[in-house]
Amino acid sequence: MALFLVNVLDGFVTGLLLFMLCSGLTLIFSMMGVLNFAHASFYMLGAYFAYQISLVTGFWVGLLVAPLIVGLIGALIERYGLRRVHKYGHVPELIFTFGLALLIEETIQFFWGKSQLPFSEPAALDFAAFAIAGNAFPAYKVFMIAVAMGIFLTLLYILTKTRIGMTIQAALSYPETVQNLGHNVPLVFMCVFGVGTAMAGLAGVIAGPVLGVFPGMALQLGSIVFVTIVIGGLGSLWGALVASLIIGWLQTFATAYDVTAEQVLTAIGFTKPELIWDHPLQDLWTLTLPQLGPILPYLLMIIVLVLRPQGLMGNRES
């Protein structure tokens, strides 16, 4: 039971971290209508900038400044890059973001090299907040939960309760009408892109000390982020949250419990072949749940796409 609780908490942290990435991506998707392939690269930029800043000023200044720089870069890229490509349609936009992802990765390797960077949690949070049956739960993870929840509530408030939020939502759905009403829609788009990338940057800063800062960090999270927003429903903030948490728990629990194919197969009445090491079905019989873990989100995505193509909380595009 204690271990179950620990895993619930761990999965919650993983899920919230994923959510910080997905929330920005899903907003940008509803704006551009195409996926931003470079989104995870902004996450990586956030981690690298924060590392660099933390060398001079310590972690906390990096936490505040790095996302701002990433957001600014994102806004500039939207203003001077994406906006020009936008008029040629979706495919050039897609290719633009794809190229951007490669460019960012190479640039980072050029400046910071290819090894892991020693980016660690701040000393003030480097202790175990509590322990459940001998399993330490780091204070830093409590901090991660707090930041992610804070972001979610702030975003939700801005988008649904404020004038700016309503303008954004209107601009996302009916850009021409909003423009005709006298709002500066391109500016709105630029800000949404900037805020979305800044949030990816922030996710990078707080994930860096836990998941490591290295040139492959964007690639590692890139695909799972897309899977999450597809499951949650493209463009839906609530959907992104729900899907992130589902995936976080799915992966944590799949790794935590050593259910083997042998147990399942014998339970439903098959008998294990004697000479399993020469058996054609050897791979099936020796499979374990932790090995399956990494493909479960993709499996879930396929099931969701088949049963509910608009995603768990998405609105069907007409």
Binding site: F214, G216, T255
Partner: protein
């Protein structure tokens, strides 16, 4: 006067060029490892160790063949791909290079050793020699052994032998958790750990033995929880790169404060990433030792390395043996072109290494037998890794490790 000066200078320059040309017969070594991409650090570090040992241990002390020749390193970037390596092998051979060095990834080494064997079968008068400085898959000197392949690193089994010596000597260890990457090397490590522990300390219980997807795990926390939950007194892992950092940080973050035995848990950013948390916990098994420098010559040699390459680590001591051992073989043969004679001279060679002690190139399987150490991370290391102020200090030293280990190699000699 001016004209005279100019003439003198020209004559002097011509003389210098001629003099240099005399000593400039180059024996080229093709260094084929990743020099770009995610594993570039490994290749760059290896190349630096080679360049340093070529300079300090061969060229400057007198060169080859009484000074008429010297080594030259020619780097080839194989991007850690077997396919790319075979292309680079061809390029190197087309340039007339007959000495190939490689080490990062046993997969690549397997491809190269086959290609070299095939080439030599077809061109018995123009063979190529393959010097493997760090690919540790035991098969290379067992089932897949061949005459033209020489391994200078201790293979995975030899390392596990030394590592389990260290565990066996520690009565506090009663439960061990084995975790690794899901591919041939991870499986080889797990099998060797099981075999040696059973042999040396049958009372030790292996409380976990699992493989995780290689390079795909984002967060190792659930694995760390299982390790802590199993009550293990030690962890053994063959993980490298990002998987090593991720696993190490998660396990230590979950409150595990007992030894983590690794094959690759240091340098290339890993020591810096672990930082203070890894002190006294992270152990590494490897050939030779850096701290404390085993000989005064090694002290001087490693100091000079850090002067020449301040941003890199002297991470793989055994790589410094390749050039001097090859030089000894060439000097014994009397020329650098008779590759077959050189290979025969290398076979069975005994060499007093400054970093790996008494070192033998075993005749039966071309596996080097040398000092293998289990090292522990500490802030009190004379030579640190990643400029982090901490390094690996030898704790258990096994001379001529696994000298009597069996081999399944049936060497066919030309």
């Amino acid at each position: 006067m001016n004209k005279f000066n100019l003439m003198m200078a020209t004559a002097l320059a011509a003389g210098l060029v001629a003099g240099a040309a005399a000593a400039q017969e180059k024996v080229r070594i093709a260094f084929t490892d990743p020099l770009s991409g995610p594993f570039a650090t490994t290749g760059t570090q290896g190349l630096a160790i080679y360049r340093h040992s070529v300079k300090e241990l061969v060229n400057e002390p007198g060169g080859l063949l009484d000074g008429i020749a010297e080594f030259e390193m020619v780097p080839f970037d194989n991007k850690i791909s077997a396919k790319e390596s075979l292309i680079q092998l061809q390029v190197a051979m087309d340039q007339g290079i007959r000495i190939i060095a490689q080490g990062a990834s046993s997969g690549v080494a397997n491809a190269l050793t086959e290609a070299v064997a095939k080439h030599n079968r077809r061109n018995p008068d123009d063979p190529v020699i393959f010097l493997n400085h760090s690919a540790v898959d035991p098969a290379l000197t067992n089932d897949k052994c061949q005459f033209w392949h020489f391994r200078f690193d201790a293979n995975a089994d030899i390392k596990m032998d030394a590592l389990t010596d260290d565990i066996a000597a520690n009565p506090d260890i009663k439960k061990v958790y084995v975790i690794g990457q899901d591919y041939s090397f991870g499986k080889a490590v797990a099998a060797a750990a099981q075999r040696f522990l059973q042999e040396k300390r049958p009372d030790i219980e292996i409380v976990g033995n699992e493989l995780h997807p290689i390079g795909k795990v984002k967060d190792f926390t659930p694995y760390a929880r299982k390790i802590v939950g199993s009550g293990a007194d030690a962890v053994i892992t063959g993980n490298w790169g990002g998987d090593m950092v991720g696993l190490g940080k998660a396990v230590m973050g979950a409150g595990f404060d007992k030894p983590i035995y690794t094959y690759y848990g240091a340098t290339s950013g890993i020591t810096a990433a672990f930082g203070e948390e890894g002190d006294g916990i992270v152990k590494l098994v490897g050939a030779g030792q850096v701290n404390p420098a085993p000989t005064p010559e090694a002290q001087e040699f490693i100091e000079a390395f850090y002067v020449s390459f301040p941003d890199l680590d002297f991470g793989q001591p055994q790589m410094a043996n390749v050039a001097p051992m090859l030089a000894a073989a060439i000097n014994e043969v009397g020329n650098a072109t008779d590759i077959k004679a050189i290979a025969y001279a290398l076979e069975g060679m005994e060499y007093d290494s400054i970093v790996t002690g008494k070192t033998l190139m075993r005749e039966s399987d071309h596996q080097t037998i040398q000092t293998v150490t289990v090292q522990g991370q500490t802030p009190e290391a004379a030579f640190d890794y990643d400029n982090s102020g901490r390094g690996m200090v030898a704790e258990t030293v096994v001379e001529l490790a696994s000298n009597d280990s069996p081999t399944t190699c049936e060497m066919k000699r030309p």
